[in-house]
Every structure is written in structure tokens, then in C-alpha cells.
């Protein structure tokens, strides 16, 4: 069974009399443990699609199932709970909470979303911070670390709750090439270690070259699906 199944997904934004058809009859399936990317130019609908998969928004029509749940049926609270249990997010601007240290940022989903006991939180946070190479920076605040380090912390935060799926919206857009490759390597390693599915939206050639499957969107239409260079079947 697919982790994600999208059938005839449409998303229309309305603002007064203006109507924007952001996604047009999009169909796709994503298997568990994939390392894939949606690519396309700005305005092609990549972020919209990620928002729908991430239960942050609902499709105007069509059927979207994530981890066996029909996301359009979820209420606000149910969607929040679903995200907390099943999804991890990585943002282009890292979106770390500025008043929390590196450790506390990673701990946040376990403490305030999943309410896990202290010992388990601590084990998971230190284990992940070690894997992303940030264990020696635990007491630093986001404004005391570099962009690459912030994104590594963001990766750890996205994975700490043991999600089935991590959604990363332009995760390398604000990173230099070297750091970007390092972050991608870390994410692939995490996929290999934990079996987590990673989905990116990007037009960054650095990621395009690393993922296994590429979905290309143009003007809200899914125009092609092909294996990337990072694909296991290549």
C-alpha cells in the first residue's frame, strides 16, 4: 500500500473575483521510504502540493490519502494531531524557535506535541543531534549558529518525533553548495536509518541530482515522473 495516494487533486485559490488554479487534476502515488522531489519553476504548485500532503491545507477537490488517512476529512485539531504523530517539516528559512536552544528546539515536538517522558526525550534528542553533528552545540541559540547548522537542527527536529514522512520545502535554498550537499546527505542517511519518507519541493539542481524520483510540475499540472540520479534503480 502506498504511503501517499493522490487522485485528481485540484486546488483553487479565490480572492474576490480572481481565481487561481494552483493544482490541476494531479495524480500520483508515493511509496514508503522514498526520497523524492517535486520540481518546477516558481508558481508551478510545488509548495501548494506539499501543504496539502502536510495537512496544512485541503484540496478543493480530489482524494488525497496520507498514511491511510483521507486528509480532507480531518478537522483542524485532528490535522494538528496527525501532523504531530506522522509528519516532520523542514522549512526553507529553517524556522527554528529563536528563544529555544538547539536542544530545546529539537525537543519541542516531543515535549509539547507528543508529551513524552524526560528520559525518552533526552535519548532521542541527543541521538539525533549526534547524527546531524550538532551534539556539541546543544546550548546554543539559533542566532549563534550558521545557516547549515540551523538546517541540520531543523532536520533533527523533523525526525525526532519518528514521523513516517518528512516534508521539506526548498530546504537548501538558503545554503551554499557544500552545506546543501551535507544536509542532503544527512537526510538520505536518516531515510536509510529510519525508513522515513522524504519529499522535497525544489528547483535547486543540487537536490534534483540527489533524489530518487522526480515529479515535475508546470502551471499546476504534473507533467512527468522520472527516476533521479539518486534513484536506487539507476
Amino acid at each position: 500500500m502506498s504511503l501517499i495516494s493522490a487522485v485528481d487533486i485540484n486546488k483553487i485559490y479565490r480572492s474576490g473575483d480572481i481565481e487561481v488554479h494552483a493544482l490541476k487534476s494531479v495524480d500520483f502515488e508515493i511509496e514508503s521510504g522514498s526520497f523524492i522531489s517535486f520540481i518546477g519553476p516558481s508558481g508551478s504548485g510545488k509548495t501548494t502540493l506539499l501543504n496539502l500532503i502536510g495537512c496544512l491545507d485541503k484540496p478543493t477537490s480530489g482524494k488525497l490519502e496520507v498514511a491511510g488517512i483521507l486528509t480532507s476529512d480531518l478537522s483542524r485539531r485532528e490535522a494538528a494531531f496527525f501532523r504531530g504523530e506522522n509528519l516532520g517539516f523542514i522549512f526553507q528559512d529553517f524556522n527554528l524557535i529563536p528563544v529555544l536552544t538547539v536542544y530545546e528546539n529539537v525537543e519541542y515536538p516531543l515535549l509539547l506535541v507528543q508529551n513524552l517522558p524526560q528520559k525518552e526525550r533526552s535519548d532521542r534528542v541527543y541521538s539525533l543531534l549526534e547524527k546531524v553533528g550538532m551534539k556539541d552545540q546543544v546550548d546554543k541559540y539559533p542566532d549563534q549558529i550558521s545557516g547549515g547548522q540551523k538546517q541540520r537542527v531543523a532536520v533533527a527536529r523533523a525526525l525526532v518525533s519518528k514521523p513516517r514522512l518528512v516534508l521539506a520545502d526548498e530546504p537548501t535554498a538558503n545554503l551554499d553548495s557544500k552545506t546543501a550537499f551535507m544536509v542532503i546527505d544527512i537526510m538520505r542517511q536518516m531515510r536509510d536509518d529510519y525508513g522515513v519518507t522524504f519529499i522535497f519541493s525544489t528547483h535547486d539542481p543540487k537536490i534534483v541530482g540527489e533524489v530518487e524520483t522526480l515529479f515535475t510540475l508546470v502551471d499546476g499540472v504534473l507533467v512527468s515522473t522520472k527516476k533521479g540520479k539518486g534513484g536506487q534503480n539507476d
Binding site: L56, F81, E85, R157
Partner: protein, 412 residues
């Protein structure tokens, strides 16, 4: 919850200047309210104490109808011996009554053999009067601190006006209840400080002398002043006394006794009430200050952190936790303001007591303001400020909790 507090406090520290300004505003508001409450309460207590302890007593009992004609001090409306005895037997049943003093009050002509003027005479039992009106002796500016038979204490105004000194002989002429006029010679035993109001022309003689001058065969009492042992229980004791005396009726079936607390006898009660109303307005102003400043700062806090709200919502934080996060921030601002405000108020009030601020009230001078911070006021003001702080945060916090994560994340 502790973590939410930690995040809220760190957010307050993150915007140091804004937190400082908002907290300062609340603290200054609390400071002014506490100082005003303490100072006005001290002023009230001093003046009420003066009025009750130097003239009125806490409660007064008259024959029904007397108060309506009090300006003419009618001897025909005095309580008779039977009424006086009845009162004494009932007063003994109420342990909260510390003391009482019967008075014969009448208007008279006062002469130094050259000039004459009118005077209001109080015939009293000295021991009972002093026990009930303990500041009476301290009002005697010249002469012996006592009211002896054959002597009269005259008010300062009369002494100055008629150039009367201690030891001078004077004559008091009065009309008794039957209309016959009688005069009696007294020696000036003391000059008493004048007080505000009609009591400013009050002189004191021994009650036996009053009986003689009015040719009373039995004691007829114009008024009975009472002192109770706990002023804060004034209304309760007044109700007990009223209930016990209410069974005494005349032949027409009407109540004999008329019982009134000082509040119904002194015009200062209206001033006191006005001060209480002003205190309420001052408290409303504090509420407005807290409401506007906290709401303003929390609206800004939500607006500035829209992306942060979007992030924590996307991660899976439930709306009620986002709500709590902002409510705790508002709550913490309120608590911080209250703590600093109360400390400043405590210091200010301590300083006021050290400096010893004096004030005059009508003819009385040199009162020393002695404000004190009462625990009840601290608790009340603190709770009001904290509740208003949380209430003011409610709207921005609800806005944050209801924010759609997808829109919040899009915010630049």
C-alpha cells in the same frame, strides 16, 4: 506547563525594551493606586477617629424624633429615667459595647458679666464621657484635664470672643422644659479646642450641674454616646443594639429609641464616601492602563511572531497550547508589573511614614498621615491586575491559536 512558562518568559526577555515599558506602566499604575488607597484610607481613619473619639462616639441613641429637631436641642424630647434605665439594662447584654455616656444637651446663654453669647451645653458624667470619647481630654488646651462640679469647659472660640480665662466666673442661663429660666454661676475650668460643625460651640459641665440648672428631678437624657470595642464590627453591633431596643414602644405603639451610627450623624461620612468612589475610579483607571498596554503589546507580539506560530502549529502544536503560550506571556507581564508595583508602593509608603506628611482638616491642624499597605488591598489589586492582564491577552491569543498554519507560514 513549566516549558510553556519558560518559552513565555524567554519571549518577554527577547523583547526587553517592550517588556520593560509595559511592566513599568503597570508597576507605576499599581504604585499610584496602592499609595492612593493607603493615603486616603489613613486620612479617612484619622478623621473618622477624630470625629468619633473626640465628640460623636461610634453610635448614638436618642429618643425618636429628637434628631429631627436637634438644632434646637429640645428638652421635651429627652429620654426619661425609665428609658435611660432600659437602655442600660440592654447595653449590659452586649459585650461589644465598651462604654457609653449619657448627655443632657441644651442651648443656653453664656455671660462673663460684660458680654454674652449663646452656647451649647453638654452635661456629662466625666468618667463615662472620657471612656466613650477618649480624645476629649486631649482637646482641653488650657486648664485641668477634668470636668468638675461647678466648673465649665468652654470652647476656644468663646474664650477668645469673650476674653474669658481659666478661673474666671461666668454665668450660664437656660430655659427648662417647663419654660422657666434659671441661671447658675460657674468657674471656667478649661478651654477646649473647637471642632468642625455645630460642636464648635459645645461646652461641658457635670451632668449633676445640668440637672440643677434645668431643675430636673430625675435624669432626662438627650443622647447616649456609645463606644464599641471593634470599630470594624460597627454595623453588626448597631444591628444587634437596634434589634434589642426595637421592642421598646410608647403608648402609641411607636419605637422609643432612635439608634444611629456616626455615619448618619457626621457630614464627613459623605466626604468619606466620595473618597471611596474616587478610589473606585482610580482602580478603573488602573484596569484601563493594564488592559490597553497589555493588549497593545500582545497584539504586537502575535503580529511579529506569525511565522513562529505557523511553525509550531505545523509541527502539531494544538491550538489550546498556542493559546496558553500567549496567555502565559500576558499573565507574566501582569505578575511582573504587580510585584514591582507593590514593592515600589511599599517603599513609597515607608518613605511617607518616615517623612511624616501632615495635613489640616478644617479647624484641626497637624494631623500626621500614616498610610499603611494592607494585605487585603495588595491581594485585591494584584488579582484585578493579573486577571485583567490575562483578559487583555485573550483576543490576541485566540487570534494566534486560530491562525491557519499555511497562511502563517506564508507571512513575511
Amino acid at each position: 506547563m513549566i516549558k510553556l512558562f519558560k518559552i513565555a518568559l524567554r519571549n518577554l526577555i527577547r523583547f526587553k525594551r517592550r517588556t520593560f515599558l509595559t511592566t513599568s506602566l503597570i508597576a507605576v499604575g499599581v504604585l499610584f493606586v496602592m499609595v492612593f488607597i493607603s493615603a486616603s484610607s489613613s486620612f479617612n481613619n484619622i478623621i473618622i477617629g477624630q470625629i468619633t473619639d473626640s465628640m460623636l462616639g461610634h453610635i448614638q441613641v436618642h429618643k425618636r424624633g429628637y434628631m429631627a429637631s436637634i438644632d434646637s436641642l429640645p428638652l421635651t424630647l429627652n429620654l426619661n429615667e425609665k428609658g435611660w434605665k432600659k437602655f442600660r439594662s440592654i447595653a449590659k447584654e452586649i459585650p461589644e459595647i465598651e462604654s457609653y455616656s449619657p448627655r443632657i444637651k441644651f442651648g443656653a446663654m453664656f455671660s462673663n458679666f460684660i458680654d454674652s453669647t449663646n452656647i451649647r451645653i453638654n452635661g456629662v458624667y466625666p468618667d463615662m464621657e472620657v471612656a466613650t470619647i477618649p480624645l476629649l481630654l486631649s482637646r482641653i488646651k488650657e486648664g485641668g484635664k477634668a470636668i468638675k462640679k461647678g466648673e465649665i469647659l468652654i470652647p476656644e472660640l468663646l474664650a477668645i470672643g469673650l476674653k474669658v480665662k481659666i478661673g474666671d466666673s461666668v454665668v450660664v442661663i437656660a430655659t427648662n422644659r417647663d419654660g422657666s429660666v434659671n441661671g447658675m454661676q460657674f468657674q471656667v475650668g478649661g478651654i477646649i479646642e473647637s471642632v468642625t460643625g455645630p460642636g464648635g460651640r459645645d461646652g461641658y459641665i457635670h451632668i449633676e450641674d445640668a440637672k440643677d440648672i434645668l431643675r430636673m428631678e430625675e435624669l432626662e437624657v438627650s443622647e447616649i454616646a456609645l463606644r464599641i470595642n471593634d470599630f470594624s464590627k460597627l454595623d453588626k453591633i448597631n444591628n444587634i443594639l437596634t434589634e434589642k431596643l426595637s421592642g421598646n414602644k410608647n403608648k402609641q405603639g411607636k419605637q422609643i429609641f432612635d439608634i444611629r451610627t456616626w455615619e448618619k450623624l457626621s457630614p464627613f461620612y459623605n466626604i468619606s464616601k466620595m473618597i471611596d468612589i474616587m478610589t473606585i475610579f482610580i482602580k478603573f483607571m488602573l484596569i484601563a492602563i493594564v488592559l490597553v498596554s497589555i493588549m497593545n503589546v500582545m497584539i504586537m507580539a502575535v503580529y511579529e511572531r506569525i511565522r513562529e506560530i505557523g511553525t509550531i502549529a505545523a509541527i502539531g502544536t494544538m491550538p489550546e497550547k498556542i493559546l496558553a503560550l500567549f496567555l502565559i506571556e500576558g499573565f507574566s507581564l501582569g505578575v511582573l508589573g504587580v510585584i514591582i508595583g507593590n514593592i515600589l508602593a511599599g517603599m513609597s509608603i515607608f518613605l511617607m511614614n518616615v517623612i511624616k506628611i501632615t495635613f489640616n482638616f478644617s479647624r484641626q491642624t497637624g494631623y500626621v498621615l500614616a498610610p499603611e499597605l494592607k494585605m487585603g488591598d495588595i491581594i485585591f489589586v494584584s488579582i484585578v491586575v493579573i486577571v485583567v492582564s490575562v483578559f487583555a491577552t485573550l483576543q490576541p491569543a485566540i487570534k494566534a491559536a486560530k491562525m491557519e498554519p499555511v497562511e502563517a507560514l506564508r507571512h513575511v
